[in-house]
Symmetry: C2
Subunit: 125 residues, 2 copies
């Protein structure tokens, strides 16, 4: 093992590069979470990574609404809104109750508002 100030030569790696910081690598490796967690994190943040969904969530943070209300406020087609609500439902961020012909949507997850708030703080700073 040939050392040069914190550097370490390895024979094989993902890329052709041969010199790395061994101690740092061992340290950060231990702190990495498992792949499933990162995948779930990815899925969660992806939901918030779309302005239509963000708007729907902030509307529902104020008051429960039916599909038509949302589509009217956002000036978007009923279909587009319904598709996004489906996405939000599939990730358990919103829920709904049928009221006659209508479907009244509301936030399903207590973390939604918190995540929104942190994001808003960040972009408005």
């Amino acid at each position: 093992m040939k050392h040069e100030n914190n550097l370490f030569e390895i024979d094989e790696g993902t890329c052709d590069i041969k010199v790395i910081h061994e101690e740092s690598i061992n340290k950060v490796k231990e702190e990495l979470l498992d792949d499933d967690t990162y995948h779930e994190l990815e899925e969660t943040f992806k939901i918030f990574g779309n302005s239509t969904r963000l708007k729907i969530l902030s509307l529902l943070a104020v008051e429960d609404l039916c599909v038509c209300d949302i589509s009217e406020v956002l000036k978007m087609s009923q279909s587009a809104v319904s598709h996004q609500l489906r996405t939000l439902r599939s990730k358990n961020l919103v829920k709904y109750t049928k009221e006659g012909k209508q479907a009244r949507y509301s936030l399903a997850d207590k973390h939604v508002i918190e995540i929104l708030k942190i994001g808003i703080e960040h972009v408005l700073e």
Copy 2:
């Protein structure tokens, strides 16, 4: 204006639907932020909506690293990592200093860890 328990008929709308909850709509409209804010929010959350970037950010939360270290820990190509670091730089989430041939990356934004933490709390609950 014809009222039927909180409902209101409108002549024209984005979609063909005619009956909405007028009061709710007016209320939530006022709470909506402006489009620019939602667009920025979207951009921010999109960055976090990718597991490679999430992993890079959590590595850098532990310790500053060069491209090769990251590529070694994540078992990903140097090119893929470099492209993602470029994305992270363009959004001002990481910064770097040149050290000889290497580039030592670190977190640039104080909010990164906070957003990560909230997300992890959410998915691990």
